[in-house]
Amino acid sequence: MEHTLTLHNDVQEVPLLATFIDTICEENAMDMEMSMNINLAVEEAVVNVMNYAYPEGTVGEVRIDASVTDGLLTIIISDSGTPFDPTGKEDPDINLPAEERAIGGLGILLVRQFMDTVTYQHTDGKNILILMKKLN
């Protein structure tokens, strides 16, 4: 079954995303751990779009399409903002001491950690980020 959610570039709409992901997790009988990991990866990817895809002060949209086929969860996050490939960003060094640890950069690391594949493409003026995760 396919599900679609469209949000604005406003992080206060993140709880709507959590409800949307919870519905998909429940439909596919995912356990708490899987459900939290997917919520986290999708939140990080969507918030990245909300914060950086559109110029400050302008309203834009981010669309989330989710489906499960043969035990494979596919989440497609698309927006019409500035072209940006988050997969091109290096993970922060998590072994650095506190004084040297940067405050940011953990978002994309969490997306990579909790998804099996993360693919970016720019098609028809849209940023398209595809997250995939094998269930069980």
């Binding site: 939140e43 650095l96 640890r101 690391l109 969490l110």
Partner: protein, 100 residues
């Protein structure tokens, strides 16, 4: 999301309750501001925390970055295995002292 700050046994204990997601983080960040100038060791109690995303992790890191140069310890109390995994993959288990 609810944040409560208490002084207990010469420590400051911050109790986090609920979902610390990107939407909740700005308020939580305001709530913990008094902790940043506290002259005591700090305990971040996550026993009632259900979820944390990178925006919440950034708040934890900012508390550590303020406390450590002033010679104070910051510990995390957490028994939720799912949250512990998030602390592990982000390297937080190396930065903070963990208590049960």
């Amino acid at each position: 999301m609810k944040t409560t700050i208490k002084e207990q046994n010469d420590e400051i204990v911050v109790y986090f309750e609920g979902r610390l997601d990107t939407a909740a983080s700005p308020q939580t960040d305001k709530d913990i501001q008094p902790v940043l100038t506290a002259d005591k060791d700090i305990v971040l109690d996550c026993e009632k925390l259900e979820y944390i995303s990178s925006s919440g992790l950034r708040i934890f890191l900012s508390i550590l970055k303020e406390a450590k140069p002033r010679g104070h310890k910051v510990s995390i109390v957490c028994t939720n295995q799912n949250l512990l995994k998030i602390f592990a993959v982000t390297g937080f288990t190396n930065l903070f002292e963990f208590r049960k």
